[in-house]
Amino acid sequence: MSDTPTKTILVTTGATSPFPSLLSAALSAPFLATLQSLGYTSLRIQYGDCQKLFQNLSTAALPSCGSIEVTGFNFTDDLRTEVAHAELVISHAGSGSILDTLRFQKRLVVVVNSELMDNHQKELAEELGGVGYLVEGFVENLHEAVTKAETFQFKHFPASGSEKFCSILDEEVGLNLD
């Protein structure tokens, strides 16, 4: 193990639908070059069902990787640990992945999977992007989104409103709050 500080970027493609175009973008030469210029040392990719594609692309990308170590996994029960270790997260627009990242107050780029039908994920990404909680990215120019996210002033995402909900629950049960 070396003592050089690591700087990790995490890419999640989602658990329910494959997102091969995001995988390709994350292993493309211009994107990897940008990561190197920004000082990243590790690229973690959650590739879902696209294991073959991930293996092929990461082998092909080897010459462009430079000092970046590329590793991947299909799914995890514990995305939060992965998020906690990352500087920046590039996520598909699933609410679980988005929420996990925002709760850790991590820099977040969200890429909407345009191949999905009935795309209310797009609405969520646009809304959160509009407030400034995240940067919206596109597979065509992922490196630009990452560059933007590096200096973007992200808005602080609020903590869980669970206590508010619990008081509603107490109200409905008829429990006295004092």
Binding site: L99, E127, L169, G174
Partner: protein, 216 residues
């Protein structure tokens, strides 16, 4: 001349209709209990859907105390949600009150044809009635949108109609729904006592919806 049988039927259906109106929260303003008997623990049912729904529900109730008797209803075969609920219970600060995890058949599988949906819904319904027979009717049911929740809430509503319980139905729309309601939300809108959304735009569109910020 209208036969006495027919007129009786008409009067009966009219009375049943009035009863229906009187228990439908969107039509008759329902009253929540002003206090709960201290000798008894309130019983709350949380409906866990699957992946995203379960994660949202557990986050939503993460700081709720254990003054309640809790039942988690999960879809059959959803071992992950059962595991998450058990893990959630083991980490919650107080472990005094008992809890149950009950399985009911799924109302509809992802990608299942609409033609076969009535049958799976019926199986879900039977499973739901059995579950209620086992743990009793709840004081509150909390759901956030999986298909099976529609059936569970339907059964609760019917029991209210029959006067068997005064269950309060709380629906919390998913954080992911920004500009429109989910199908479950639309179906349950009129029958919930509290309809909570997590984006302000939905309040403009739906009169009965309430917004208290992001709750999960």
């Amino acid at each position: 001349m209208i036969s006495p049988l027919l007129s009786g039927a008409i009067i009966l259906s009219f009375l049943l209709f009035l009863r229906f109106l009187s228990v439908t929260p969107s039509i008759t303003r329902t009253h929540r209990p002003s206090s709960f008997p201290s000798t008894k623990k309130p019983h709350i049912i949380y409906i866990l859907g699957s992946g995203g729904h379960t994660a949202e529900m557990l986050s939503l109730i993460s700081s709720c105390n254990s003054r309640y008797k809790r039942t988690y209803m999960i879809s059959r075969g959803d071992a992950l949600s059962a595991k998450k609920a058990a893990a959630f219970e083991s980490t919650s600060t107080s472990t005094s009150a008992p809890y149950d995890i009950l399985e009911i058949p799924r109302a509809r599988l992802v990608g299942q044809s609409w033609l076969s949906t009535p049958w799976t819904c019926a199986a879900c319904l039977v499973g739901c009635v059995r579950a209620f027979a086992r743990v009793g009717l709840p004081d509150v049911v909390v759901c956030n949108g999986p298909g099976s929740a529609v059936v569970v809430v339907g059964v609760c509503f019917f029991c209210k109609f029959l006067g068997l319980c005064r269950t309060r139905i709380i629906y919390v729309e998913s954080f992911a729904r920004v500009r429109s309601l989910s199908l479950s939300g639309k179906l349950l809108y009129a029958f919930t006592d509290r309809f909570i959304v997590q984006w302000p735009r939905l309040v403009e569109k739906y009169r009965r919806a309430e917004y208290h910020g992001i709750l999960i």
